[in-house]
Symmetry: C2
Subunit: 229 residues, 2 copies
């Protein structure tokens, strides 16, 4: 029952439609139209943040969703679907897949990652789980925990990987993760150009997630402005 979505996105583009509170496009309405634009452009799935965005997007497009909730906890630097509370919240919309931080960083509260995964599996046996990781060790542990896929999402976004970029050294990190695990690996994080997206797939990524380069016009504008100044 789970296989279809992973098969659906194989070799394809997933578009991440996110605008946080401090961003100009912050609005469930706008994100739902962004998702529609992505679908028109040929996206195979949408990654989205927050229950309301996921709900509006699911009402607007007929594509599978990778859902997350970004929420800061004072006691932890884990912020992507950090606890069971966020999973329960997202399951109101019943997305095909939920992604969560699967780094080795301390989570809020007492629940450790293995117990969290076990609890999610028990509550929602049909749900696909994506592990957002930043190191090869985290990818390996996530695969051992039974995540359905791992994503390079957090590479460059954790304290120990700060300053790292997915594109560096011919996508070395992506290649290392691909060599370390047998579950599908999804390339995500700073995929800035069509060429880089194609290259990630050629290296063996199961799918590629592109966010800001498509759905953050402020970021795209900045890239043009930097080139001309």
């Amino acid at each position: 029952m789970k296989a279809p979505m992973l098969a659906q996105i194989q070799g394809k583009l997933v578009v991440s439609c996110q605008a946080l509170e401090d961003e100009p496009l912050h609005s469930p309405f706008i994100m739902s139209r962004m998702a529609l634009a992505a679908m028109e452009g040929g996206a195979a799935a949408i990654r989205a943040n927050s229950l309301i965005d996921v709900q509006q997007i699911m009402q607007t497009v007929d594509l599978p969703i990778i859902a997350i909730i970004k929420r800061d906890y004072p006691s932890s630097d884990v912020y992507i679907t950090a606890t069971l509370r966020e999973v329960d919240e997202l399951m109101v919309a019943n997305p095909a897949m939920i992604a969560l931080d699967a780094t080795l960083h301390t989570r809020p509260g007492d629940l450790q990652l293995p117990a969290l995964v076990a609890e999610i599996r028990q509550r929602y046996p049909q749900l696909l789980l994506m592990a957002d990781i930043a190191t090869v060790e985290e990818a390996r542990k996530a695969a051992e925990l039974g995540f359905d896929c791992v994503g390079t999402t957090l590479y460059g976004y954790t304290a120990e990987t700060q300053g790292c970029y997915l594109a560096a050294d011919d996508c070395r990190f992506l290649r290392d993760v691909l060599a370390a695990v047998t579950v599908p690996v999804i390339a995500e994080g700073n995929v800035e150009t069509p060429e880089m997206a194609a290259h990630c797939l050629a290296l063996g990524a199961h799918a590629v997630v592109v966010g800001g380069a498509i759905t953050r016009p402020q970021q795209i504008t900045r890239r043009f402005v930097n080139a001309i100044s």
Copy 2:
């Protein structure tokens, strides 16, 4: 009194924020947030279509606007600010600049381009006028008519230039226009990458307008999808 806006955009990026009725982002609210994103990213001005979009954008960002109204007339293939009616309509918002089709194509009604320009100058002496052209001859005639600047906007979008691309032959068309007129030349139309934008300015363009590559996510998505399939 007119100079400031042209000086403001010199060597800079103008972001075109347009979504027509059949596009997923069609909405004055969304376009106003797009304009805000462009401003955050460092855009020097906004090009926008329709009075309502121009008004909402002017309420949202403090940037000069190049305003147009795209409206189809059954008797003519001129559709960018084709008649005095569209100019009067846009002047409700009082934008710094209005762009209009300045091709040699037959306009709707009886008014010829020279008479239209003369009438606009009389009614709105402070308004800057941009000539959207598709051929060198049209650029030359527009400059003679006293347009404040010419834009390569329609190159590739008229019957006789179909299939032409601004980037072709090291931006040959842009270079030809630059050689033919002394008014500022604005590079616009299929400027797809930061590198191409920088190149247009290096060749001597006064400013560069980027639209779809920043504000049409369906088009950007398509570019990624094409690269990976």
